[in-house]
Symmetry: C3
Subunit: 108 residues, 3 copies
C-alpha cells in the first residue's frame, strides 16, 4: 500500500533528522514520538503538565497535518521517567482529546 509521509505542517517542530512526523497508510495514521519541543525544534523545559501539554499538542498537530483528528486516536505509547506522574499526564490528555486514553506506559 502507498505510504504518505507527513514531514511538515502548521505548528509542527522542525526536525533535523530524516524522521517524518507521521505516516498514513490506508485508513491508519502512525504518529512519531513527540516531545516537549517547540516549532524551532528546541526542547522546552517545564513542569510535567506543561511538557505533556506541548508534546500532546505536537501529536495533535501531526494528526491534523495528516488529515486526521484527535477524536480518532486509538492508542498512545508514553515513556515515563517517573510513573508517579501518570495521573498528571493523563489529566492533561483527557480534557483535550475528550476521550479515554488507551495507553502503554514505559518506565524509563
Amino acid at each position: 500500500m502507498t505510504r504518505k509521509f507527513i514531514e511538515t505542517g502548521p505548528g509542527l517542530p522542525n526536525w533535523p533528522n530524516p524522521i517524518s512526523h507521521a505516516v498514513v497508510v490506508g485508513k491508519m495514521c502512525f504518529v512519531s514520538g513527540q516531545l516537549s519541543v517547540n516549532e524551532g525544534g528546541e526542547y522546552v523545559e517545564g513542569t510535567v503538565a506543561e511538557e505533556a501539554t506541548l508534546a500532546f499538542n505536537n501529536v495533535f498537530a501531526a494528526l491534523k497535518a495528516a488529515g486526521f483528528d484527535k477524536s480518532e486516536i486509538v492508542y498512545i505509547d508514553i515513556a515515563f521517567s517517573d510513573l508517579a506522574k501518570l495521573e498528571e499526564v493523563t489529566h492533561v490528555f483527557f480534557p483535550n482529546a475528550g476521550c479515554y486514553l488507551t495507553w502503554n506506559g514505559q518506565h524509563g
Copy 2:
C-alpha cells in the same frame, strides 16, 4: 471509525484514571498496559513469574471484555527492568496463550 472503550469487566482492575482497559476499532483491539495489579487496583508484589501471570491475566480479561480472545493476539510490548527475566516471562505467556509471542521488549 467508531471507537468502543472498554472501561470495566470481570476480573479487570479498577483504575482511578481516565484510562480505558482497551479500545476496539473495526476488527482491531488495542489493550492498555497491564501490570501486576489486582481487581482493587493495588500492585501485587511477587516473583517475576507471579507478577507476569497476573499482568497477562489482566490482558486476557481486557480482551475478553472487548469481545476478543487471547488466540487473536498478534503483538505484545513488554517493558523489562531486567532483560535477563525474558525467558521466565515468555514461559508464563506461552502455555497460557498457546502461541508464539511476537513482542518488543523495552529494557528500563
Copy 3:
C-alpha cells in the same frame, strides 16, 4: 483472522525462546524486537552504528521471511540507552530503507 508465525528464515537469529520473529495477520506484519544478534543468537558488541546496522538487518530479514519488504515499513519502535545517539541510528536506517522513519523512541 488467521495468524502466520514466522519462526525461521535466511539470516534470522536462532532464538531459544517461544518468540516468533514476526506474525502476519491480514495485510499487516508485526516484527518482534530485534537486537544486534547474529544468526547463532549471540549478542555482537560494536559501535552504535554497527549494532544498529545488524539489528535493522534482522528486521529486514524478518520482513523478507514474512513476505514483506522494507519499503512497506510504517512504524518502528526503538529503545535508546542514550537518546543522543538518535542521529547515528537514524542515518543507519535512512539509506538502507530508503524512506523516512516514523518512530517512537524510548529512553532507557
